[in-house]
């Protein structure tokens, strides 16, 4: 069974149609990249999948392991194994990153019917994962994303992803705002999470991220649908030729 199956998905924001019949199938273990010009609806797709409330689905379907995603609350989607790494992670003043992580991990575990992690187990796990992502323990004592550099924010997203053990990871322009070193750390973190039973949807404007996270499938999105699908070579073609050909597509 497909991990993520999106059929003829249509969605609008503030009366404006953004997704206009999008089809996409991600199987377990696959990494898909979605590329496309600005305004093609890439971020909208990620928000609709995660369940942001100001996005209204007007048609089509999206399922995770056969279960209707669109019927679920955002936290239930997270519990079922969907994870969205935000393009612009949100600041939460006064809440230590560590507290946030622990609340999230235990909330998800509870919903999945697992026991909450004990403090020592949790700390051990965080230390291990943080080390892999080159995250300083001190960063975890600071309030969530407050005063974080662009790189710190993105590494924090990947840390959350690693801790929540999702089945389907959606990365929304994770490369934006990263210098090449930070990009490499983040990409390494993602690659470490690649697994037989886990799928990835990597949304990006530029090909450079895909040099580090090599996709199995590359899609081109324009005007709210997938207009072309190919292998990794498609990303290079886009990098060379730009999106001009797709501006009037669809």
């Amino acid at each position: 069974m497909a991990l993520l199956e999106v059929k003829n998905l249509q969605a609008r924001v503030e009366e404006k149609d953004i997704l206009r019949g999008l089809n996409l199938t991600v199987n377990p273990g696959e990494v898909h990249a979605i590329m496309g010009p600005n305004g093609s609806g890439k971020s909208t797709l990620s928000y609709v999948l995660a369940g942001k409330s100001d996005y209204e689905v007007t048609g089509g379907s999206a399922t995770l392991e056969g279960e209707d995603l669109l019927e679920l609350e955002p936290d239930e989607r997270a519990a079922r194994g969907l994870f969205l790494a935000f393009q612009y992670p949100i600041e939460i003043p006064g809440v230590a990153s560590m507290t946030f992580l622990r609340t999230a991990v235990n909330a998800v575990r509870k919903k999945r019917g697992d026991e909450e992690l004990s403090t020592p187990d949790f700390l051990r796990l965080v230390r291990e994962k943080a080390k892999e992502l080159n995250i300083d323990q001190n960063m975890l004592k600071r309030p969530v994303n407050v005063g974080f550099s662009g790189g710190e924010k993105k590494r924090n997203e990947i840390l959350q992803m690693a801790m929540l053990e999702p089945k389907m990871c959606v990365l929304d322009e994770t490369d934006s705002g990263l210098d090449i070193d930070a990009l490499k750390i983040v990409a390494d973190g993602v690659n470490r999470l690649r697994a037989k039973n886990r799928g990835f949807l990597v949304i990006t404007h530029y090909q450079r991220l895909l040099d580090h996270i090599v996709p199995d499938v590359v899609h081109v999105m324009a005007k709210g649908k997938i207009v072309r699908t190919g292998g990794p070579e498609l990303a290079h073609e886009l990098e060379a030729k730009g999106y001009a050909a797709y501006d009037n597509a669809a």
């Binding site: 409330s53 100001d54 997270a78 939460i92 003043p93 946030f100 609340t103 929540l164």
Partner: protein, 492 residues
């Protein structure tokens, strides 16, 4: 449906079931006849077997009160109160005054157990872990009367006097005469004057010179009777070099009508003394239509009478239909310090007008105000504060930080600071922010697996963190839970 609309709908759906302390205890009570005149005052005084001087003090207050009118400057809408339609004294019938635990009506003990207050010393002791968590002595006030005080023996050894004010009037008249009304004068304001005339009980604390009170002291107030006003009077005196930490908690059953609560709290800190006063107020806030709930009109003031003294107020206010309350510090002694840390949460139809006054009179006095107001539902939440420096208050310092957080778009947060500096060396700083819990923040939390309510609780706890850390350890956790409960139903 946009989430903001959901928020509003969920707030609308709040009902009384969410007030988990809304049970009534069936106990026969002994009441004064309805209404208020001199005979009511005499009745109360006689019931309590008070000496003549106390009765005179009350009568003077009552005569004064008749000439006064209710204050109307606060940003609250109050249904007219018929002062003749209230009972001014109600005592559980089986309890004439504080007794040992064995004699207390088991129904009362059950009530307190439901509130999560263990009056049994063993139970309290059982809660003490070997790491040496402090013990808590509790004075429980039911309607108008203090019913039991725990740990009295142990406190006595340290020379600490802790019990009901009625007892203190009988047993320590010299202290009561000297200090009662010395911080909040009988004539102070409408509600304080009313309290002075009809107060029925409350707690009394005296910490002798150089004594550090060996445990947290705590009072729990509960209004049970219908149509009964609760007028408690608390007086805390920390003699030279003494230290005490005191916590009060309040609950009431759910009633359709509004119940009046007009308390007076006076704190006196002599030279080098420190008083830390914490409140967790969870009076019944009324139902979804704004019906019922407690009118909480309270006068709380501390006097840093001696040099190098310190008074610190910490409050977590989640209940009451209307809150009108300004715990204040008079910084009379040189180098004295005043602090006010406040979390005021309003939901449903609640109205809060609360803040503090820091009156700098002595030299090198300093004060600090951290206020966090959280408004949800269709509530109104006002911070009102005064910082003033007298002519002689050289080098007075104040730092004020008022933050407001809005949940939904039907509520209001208001900040009304008054600043008066009559001494040119005074340095007063004021910071204020108002923000809204954004849908983005909630969505971010929810996409990490937190439910809507968990998300709000997490964000709000982050917002109030600076204040929570000033609560005694034992109560910080309780307060955190209370915050989550009072915001239940505030998001979709």
């Amino acid at each position: 449906m946009p989430a903001v609309q959901e928020t509003v709908d969920r707030v609308k759906s709040i009902d009384v079931d969410q007030y988990k302390y809304g049970f009534e205890t069936k106990i026969e009570s002994d009441r004064a006849p309805k209404g208020l005149d001199e005979s009511t005052v005499r009745f109360i005084s006689a019931k309590k077997g008070e000496p003549e001087w106390m009765l005179e003090w009350r009568l003077e207050a009552f005569r004064r009160w008749k000439t006064m009118s209710e204050p109307n400057w606060a940003r609250v809408k109050v249904n007219p109160i018929d002062y003749q339609d209230l009972y001014y004294y109600s005592a559980p019938k089986t309890t004439a005054g504080p007794k040992s635990l064995a004699e207390v009506d088991p129904e009362l003990l059950k009530t307190y157990a439901k509130l999560g207050i263990s009056l049994h010393e063993q139970e309290i002791l059982a809660g003490v872990d070997p790491a040496g968590r402090t013990k808590v002595a509790v004075d429980a006030v039911f309607d108008s009367v203090s019913v039991v005080t725990t740990f009295q023996e142990e406190l006595k050894k340290a020379g600490v006097i802790f019990g009901s004010i009625s007892e203190a009037i009988k047993n320590h008249p010299e202290l009561v005469k000297k200090y009662l009304g010395s911080v909040v004068p009988v004539t102070d304001n409408f509600f304080a004057t009313l309290n002075s005339a009809v107060f029925s009980d409350g707690s009394f604390v005296y910490i002798p010179k150089g004594v550090r009170c060996p445990m947290e002291l705590s009072t729990y107030f509960r209004i049970n009777e219908r149509n009964t006003g609760q007028f408690e009077r608390t007086l805390i005196i920390a003699d030279e070099g003494a230290y005490v930490s005191y916590l009060e908690g309040c609950t009431a059953p759910m009633r359709d009508e509004n119940q009046l609560h007009a308390a007076v709290v006076e704190l006196v800190a002599l030279e080098g003394a420190e008083i830390k006063y914490s409140t967790v107020q969870n009076w019944y806030p009324g139902d979804a239509q704004g019906k019922g709930g407690i009118y909480n009109f309270v006068t709380k003031r501390g006097d840093c009478r001696g040099n190098n003294s310190k008074i610190s107020w910490t409050q977590v206010e989640t209940g009451s239909a209307i809150t009108w309350k300004y715990p204040s510090c008079i910084l009379r002694g040189d180098n004295s310090q005043g602090e006010f840390y406040s979390i005021a949460i309003s939901n449903g139809h609640q109205q809060v007008d609360s803040g503090t006054k820091m009156i700098h009179l002595g030299k090198n006095t300093s004060s600090r105000i951290i206020s966090k107001g959280i408004a949800a539902g269709v509530s109104q939440n006002t911070y009102r504060g005064l910082v003033s420096a007298h002519r002689k208050a050289t080098n007075a310092r104040n730092f004020t930080n008022c933050d407001s957080l809005l949940i939904g778009d039907k509520c209001g947060a208001h900040t009304t600071p008054y600043i008066e500096a009559k001494n040119s060396s005074a340095v007063f700083e004021h910071e204020a922010t108002t923000s809204k819990i954004s849908e983005d923040m909630l969505f971010y939390c929810r996409s990490r697996g937190l439910s809507g309510e968990e998300a709000v609780a997490l964000v709000v706890n982050g917002f109030v963190k600076d204040v929570l850390q000033h609560l005694p350890m034992e109560f910080a956790v309780e307060a955190q839970k209370l915050i989550a409960i009072s915001l239940e139903g505030s998001v979709g």
